[in-house]
């Protein structure tokens, strides 16, 4: 520990700390622009110059290491003169166009110029003008305002993992720019808007819409991936204008993914697939807007009829795992109240053999503990796109002591320094993981069971197994793809075995905001009920569809659509106009996460409740209220909650603080089935980042990003040659349905595989996400 005195106040800091660290510890503010606690030290803005005793000149606090007994003065005459000098330099070429600048009111330069600037400029020459750059659909530029702090450059390089911005040219001609003709395409790009201390980088969707001081700041939780990022939703006139990160070091740190940040646009979406504001009822083949009373009474009557005529088991409920805990809890209560056990939210899952083993999958450890791991194996995950911020955590950890390995089916660049990697076809995933288990067992000198006797680990599997076996604090994570895999239970059993052998923690990267919450809310079928896949494979007479778009969100869209079309009654509860108009009989406008209070339980089992940030749009109502009224209409007991908190209390068994004891990844006695048939040509289906849930799909700006390009049939050169196809050709892809797509060369796809994205309307005509497909020229 080193002792330091700043402005007369003493403190002790660890060796290697900087003066800025010590000042932060003491709560002393030193003005700065380029310094950011999450980024490397640049020391280029020079705003944090302070006086250090015995130093001949002022030193930058951000880059000056503390020495024992150091005395620092942050507001002495010398320090303030230096800071004011720097401020003057920063302002001479800055346009001072605050009245028309989007950053006005939340600009660090503006704020600090109040304290350190002068009333009038001594610089009377012409100012520098810099041409704007096109950084894509999310980030607007006014590069003349740039003060060259390089926070954005360092962010893309260090946090996002790919240097998409740099400072070109020299001296006064220096400009921050992307590579020529390139945009900033990172899934974390929006963070550079927050990082930019001036108005050089601003939000394109939000631009010129409101002033920051006109907006209320309300806390909320991201409804997208399993991380549950904490957010500030900014609102005005009961409308969401912008989303910003709410710092939570344990979850999202100070970042947000672009999906978290920009999908709010969907909340204000209008038009054909925009917001629904009135209940709709289909009568005599015609859609009519009706009042809630009419709609709910119709549902009540018809449900009773279906139950009477076909039995309660003819009723099923499909819920999106992006629904709140309260919604999911009341939905399953309603369905079970009617007498059916058919309720599920695992819409993209295909292997349900773990059901009945009391598994409520979760991460297996707190997110904040990831950096402390020394070995990590990720199985079956499009990491960057499925879990942008968890991938970011792994990226930072891998730069230090964590050795990360990846076993997957597509060689997308994770931008993580990987220790070992194996990319295999989906049908070979179980065998490859079995190889890892065997290699780890051999490295640890443990016997493996008979099922693995015939396995010969590949070189990559051996590397992964040995890497895991050599660690002290290790973890194995099963990604979305592993959860959706046709042999998910075998993958689970192998991962569990691997964890047992290596002493690793083992868990799941939660696909959706409330994947864990759905388990806690019991929105999963019990022994008597049907799971999501069976509900659609064995069509029911009546369906509840909550927040989901089955033609995009289910493992087998073609089958889902067929089942729904054949039903007597489909009740779609959704904030949006969806394709439910094709198959539903009643569409109820329910509140998106911003218009209802609710709870998401993130992948680490953290219960995060939030309030509505705006009033429901039009006649939209929170789904939990709708379900409660329906329960009353159906005269079911226990539907008398008068707040979402009451629903939550019931759902969590009165222990809202922790659901830890309800989480369990361990399932014993699961058969390991390594007999896999290898089809001639098999599908790999990813769920593209901006098509993963109904909200993201409707965000206009996200749809213009490179990540939202329409899906193609992606194959490697060998597969293309075998099929006699060339990139650009139109092909008809068949797998339980058909889709016509262009062919694209993708060297990251294994041999004999075709990567066709799911979750997109262009591929919603297809059947299962995995299996044998055929490709022919269209």
């Amino acid at each position: 520990m080193l002792e330091i005195e700043i402005d007369g106040r003493k403190t002790e800091v660890a060796d290697g700390s900087t003066v800025m660290d010590a000042a932060c510890k003491l709560g002393i503010f030193i003005p700065h622009f380029c310094y950011h606690k999450k980024l490397s030290i640049a020391a280029n803005c020079r705003m944090c110059l302070v006086e250090v005793e015995k130093a001949p000149k002022p030193l930058p606090a951000c880059a000056t290491p503390v020495t024992n007994g150091m005395k620092v003065f942050t507001h002495s005459k010398t320090a303030v003169k230096a800071q004011k000098g720097v401020m003057e330099f920063l302002l001479i070429n800055h346009p001072l166009d605050c009245p028309i600048c989007d950053q006005g009111g939340e600009c660090q330069l503006q704020d600090l110029s109040v304290g350190y600037g002068q009333g009038a400029s001594r610089y009377q020459e012409e100012k520098r003008v810099v041409t704007n750059k096109n950084l894509g659909p999310l980030i607007a530029t006014d590069m003349t305002r740039c003060i060259h702090c390089t926070r954005c450059v360092r962010f893309t390089q260090e946090i996002a993992g790919w240097m998409e911005l740099g400072q070109a040219f020299r001296g006064e001609h220096a400009e921050i720019m992307p590579f020529i003709e390139k945009t900033v395409d990172s899934e974390l790009s929006g963070n550079i808007i927050d990082l930019c201390p001036v108005g050089a980088l601003t939000s394109k969707p939000f631009r010129f819409a409101a002033r920051t001081w006109e907006l209320s700041r309300r806390k909320s939780i991201s409804p997208h991936d399993g991380l549950g990022a904490n957010m500030i939703v900014q609102v005005k006139y009961d409308r969401v204008f912008r989303v910003l990160p709410l710092e939570n070091e344990d979850i999202n740190e100070c970042w947000l993914s672009d999906k978290d940040r920009f999908s709010y646009e969907a909340l204000n979406a209008q038009g054909d697939d925009g917001r629904l504001t009135k209940p709709m009822l289909k009568q005599c083949g015609e859609w009519r807007e009706v009042d809630w009373q009419t709609a709910l009474e119709f549902i009540g009557t018809d449900l009773k009829r279906v139950a009477r005529e076909h039995g309660a088991a003819a009723i099923g409920a499909l819920a999106s795992p992006h629904s709140t805990l309260e919604e999911l809890y009341l939905l399953q209560k309603l369905v079970r109240g009617i007498g059916s056990g058919n309720v599920d939210s695992r819409l993209r899952q295909t292997d349900f053999s773990l059901d009945g083993k009391q598994v409520t999958p979760w991460l297996g450890l707190p997110v904040a503990e990831i950096p402390a791991l020394d070995r990590v194996l990720v199985v079956g995950s499009f990491l960057r796109k499925d879990h942008p911020l968890l991938a970011q955590r792994l990226r930072q950890a891998a730069k230090k002591t964590t050795r990360v390995s990846l076993l997957h089916v597509a060689d997308d660049d994770s931008l993580i320094r990987l220790d070992a990697k194996s990319i295999v076809a989906p049908s070979a995933l179980t065998a490859e993981l079995a190889g890892v288990v065997k290699a780890a067992a051999e490295a640890k000198g443990v016997a493996v069971d008979a099922a693995l006797a015939g396995i010969q680990p590949s070189a990559a599997a051996r590397a992964m197994g040995e890497s895991l076996a050599s660690g002290e604090k290790t973890a194995i994570f099963l990604g979305n793809f592993a959860q959706q895999h046709a042999q998910a239970a075998t993958l689970h059993a192998l991962a569990q075995k691997l964890a047992d052998i290596t002493g690793a923690r083992f868990g799941y990267l939660g696909e959706a905001a409330n994947s864990v919450g759905a388990g806690v809310a019991k929105a999963t079928p019990d022994a008597a009920g049907l799971n999501a896949a069976r509900m659609l494979a064995e069509p029911r007479k009546a369906y509840f569809v909550l927040h989901a778009e089955p033609e995009l969100d289910c493992a087998n869209p073609a089958q889902a659509l067929a089942a729904l079309r054949g039903a007597d009654l489909v009740v779609a509860m959704t904030p949006f106009r969806t394709r439910a108009v094709d198959y539903a009989h009643v569409i109820l406008p329910v509140a998106p996460f911003t218009e209802t209070s609710g709870t998401f339980i993130n992948t680490e089992g953290r219960v995060q409740s939030f309030n509505a940030v705006v009033k429901p749009l039009g006649e939209t109502r929170p789904a939990w209220k709708v379900l409660r009224v329906l329960g009353n209409l159906l005269e079911l007991p226990g539907f008398d909650h008068d707040s979402s908190e009451a629903v939550r209390a019931e759902a969590l068994g009165g222990k809202p603080a922790s659901v830890a004891e309800q989480l369990n990844n361990r399932a014993d006695g699961v058969a390991i089935n390594l007999t896999a048939t290898t089809p001639a040509l098999q599908r790999i289906a990813d769920v593209p980042i901006y098509f993963a849930d109904p909200l993201a799909r409707r965000a206009a700006s996200l749809r213009q990003t490179r990540d939202a390009l329409p899906p193609a049939a992606r194959m490697n050169a060998a597969t293309l040659a075998k099929l006699g196809l060339a990139p650009g050709a139109q092909v008809k892809v068949s797998l339980g349905g058909t889709a016509t797509l262009p062919v694209e060369l993708d060297a990251g796809v294994p041999d004999g595989c075709v990567r066709v994205a799911a979750g997109h309307e262009l591929t919603s005509g297809l059947g299962p996400m995995q299996g044998e497909l055929t490709v022919e020229r269209a």
């Binding site: 705003m47 230096a82 720097v86 330099f89 060259h148």
Partner: protein
Amino acid sequence: MDTLGFILDAEQGERGWRLAEYVQRGGYAALKKIISEKIPPENIVAELKQSALRGRGGAGFPTGLKWSFMPRQFSGAKYVVCNSDEGEPGTFKDRDILRWNPHMVIEGMIIAGYAMGCQRGYNYIHGEIWEIYKRFEEALEEARAAKLLGERILDSDFSFDLYAHHGYGAYICGEETALLESIEGKKGQPRYKPPFPASVGLYGKPTTINNTETFASVPYIINEGGDKFLQLGKPNNGGTKLFSVSGHVNRPGNFEVPMGTPFKDLLAMAGGMRGGRKLKAVIPGGSSAPVLPADVIMECTLDYDSIAKAGSMLGSGAVIVMDETTCMVKALERLSYFYFEESCGQCTPCREGTGWLYRVVHRIEHGAGRPEDLDLLNSVTDNIMGRTICALGDAASMPVKSFIKHFGAEFEYHIQNGKCLVPEDAQRAGSGFFKVA
């Protein structure tokens, strides 16, 4: 007066540069001596300390001390780097050293590698002297063929290889950490120090960077001993020094003279003032050194301490001589333009300040100066100096400060009258470009 040329010959330094010719002059004797006598590395560093050799690149840091900073016990790679990125206006000595005596630099670097336990070295050569870069590559090949470089030098256990790397002419790449960035393939921008290159240098490894002339001085010290080198000069300022004399003299060029030689003598060697005109001012150490008026410089001897006492720096030994026909405002405008164009743009005071300085001096020169401009220039230089990541900010400021200090009256005349104190035709006569009747 004779020049004492162990690096360059008296007459403009020309001498045979090939290996055979260098060996004939006694080249590589120092290396052979070290290898055959198995001289311990610490003795070499001690000898350098004794010699009072100071860095010839401009800062004048004692070389022996610098070498002793290299962590002895460090197990990984360590590097020795030669800074031949000679970009300081007025300096052209390293170019001639590499042109006429490349093997002396190579030998010095090998000895440095031996003394500091480095296996690899780089010579970063300025981008605008391509021929010299090519010649250096040839010299390296000669040395490798003769087993003076590479694996097991002269069949000893010592291995050292050396590579040439050429820049593209950016002045900032002469700053040692920007030079390292450039070798690494990045944009040449100085790093913040600490950490210093001796602990975190090239590719993050301990690195020592010296000027070409510094390395060229090393073989002499090993051959003749530190004491003899010291005695060539004066206490604390050992050896000889190359001075690049340019400007209004009859015979501009490089002159190797002992440290402590009176300025008068150097001026005489350079053939005296052109056209017999009166000396007005001298920049004694490259464009970033403060200017000294004639009466001050004529009393100086050429060594670090004497020039520093007079208020300037010996710097890289680039002596820019200006006679009475020089417009000091115009001279400063040109210097300020140089720093404005060469600032790397990384840190605020330099990026924004150098342009500001240039523009104000420019408007004074062009008759649009304002009465408050001299105070403004002084204040802006105060805000730049000592506030930047590297020394370029100081380098840009010192000429401005010193020109105004010593020649303020000329600036004021410009501001008040919108024209120069030195008549236009006198300036033309002095420039040498115009035929004046």
